[in-house]
Symmetry: C2
């Protein structure tokens, strides 16, 4: 259970020790954004929100709670799709997802909802540096959220924050089995790692907000971040 101001890196280190799998050199720590949002006090009380007129209009159209719509609009820089029960926006970070990532699960208080961290890449970096200082090991950190997809049913966990490794593994220029040069392979490993972690993190009452991925080698990269995965608008063919 995480509350505002909690020291997430210290709690992770302690939990890993308690589970007899202390953090090792090269570990990739995937953390569900919910505990980061809680530690950073990114919770809001719907009771304290007065919907603006646009929010009330959109709420009537989508059938959503006007206070939730207001919160979504405040967290968004653009609306991408609206329809019955659906409000897909572009968050201020640039992620395209339902309700600007605002959600209710595993948040205490019947009318309290969690917002995404203000700067998930910055949070990932702070948590990574703190984990490295506390453990003496070099690690990578991913902060994850569960997003729907265009074209496909169901949701998958993706990286909304990342620090310590290249979020894309660029394999262009490598040779295949027959000496043919790969031209298009750029693998979004940050998202694949986040998805893999989701399989053990779960999202209901497991109370497992983080996972350690061990044995997958990544290059050290201090600059790469999850927002690098977002297409600029002129490259997104499904605006």
């Amino acid at each position: 259970m995480i509350s505002g101001g909690d020291d997430v890196p210290r709690l992770l280190i302690e939990a890993a020790k308690r589970l007899e799998t202390p953090i090792q050199e090269g570990d990739i720590i995937v953390i569900t954004h919910k505990i980061v949002s809680k530690a950073e006090n990114r919770l809001i009380e719907l009771a304290n929100i007065t919907p603006s007129e646009p929010a009330a209009n959109f709420a009537a159209y989508t059938g959503k709670d006007p206070r939730v719509v207001e919160a979504v609009l405040r967290e968004s820089r653009a609306i991408r799709r609206m329809s019955q029960g659906i409000l897909i926006t572009e968050t201020k970070h640039g992620f395209v997802c339902a309700n600007a990532g605002i959600d209710k699960s595993n948040v205490e208080g019947r009318e309290t909802v969690a917002l995404l961290p203000l700067d998930p890449d910055g949070s990932a970096r702070r948590i990574r540096l703190s984990l490295e200082r506390l453990s003496g090991k070099r690690v990578s950190v991913i902060i994850s959220d569960t997003h729907g997809r265009a074209h496909k049913d169901g949701e998958v966990n993706v990286a909304i924050g990342a620090s310590g490794f290249p979020v894309i593994l660029d394999r262009r220029g490598e040779m295949d089995l027959f000496g043919y040069e790969l031209k298009v392979k750029r693998i979004a490993i940050a998202d694949e790692l986040a998805g893999a972690a989701e399989l053990v993190i779960g999202q209901a009452s497991e109370g497992t907000p983080a996972a350690i991925i061990r044995g997958y080698k990544v290059r050290v990269d201090e600059a790469s971040k999850a927002t690098d995965l977002i297409w600029p608008r002129d490259k997104d063919l499904f605006l």
Copy 2:
């Protein structure tokens, strides 16, 4: 190295034994579609393709090889996006991906390309039943391909064929830590498992066309399949 007519399930069983990790009850076997396409003779020689007039037109517009465009059109039921160097179609199965999934990597012959399996779900089912008969263990099978995404840079591995387990883990109705009922959690575990496998399968010269995921529990489901993950057109908000 797989050739037309090869018995993929038998080769997988033998490789697993050789690697001293024989298939176990509940294993999830993720197989890159390339070896399935090869075994099913889904290769074509570009030299044998005469581009139609539409293919020639689109090739001029996109800057692509007219023979490749012709092959893509033959494998597609609709075009979703076209621009410089980009041709995103809806395959006959319904997957939205670049070039109808046609690709060149790890295919012998300078002008030979691989098509997707005709019916990847059917292939997954046949391979699963064969693996189960040969091993005496119940398993699940995923046939994977690497797809780009709307809104985001980079590619991830996804399931284009699946058999033996529910491709979506529906957690709606479960309770969170505070007794709040989950309303929207439907996790596309088939895609998360495919993405996890990609991290070890690779796509260049590793010659690792399959992975075993062990220890992740799935429910037995004989009916669920990867094409269940495709939004019908009226639900795809990013047509």
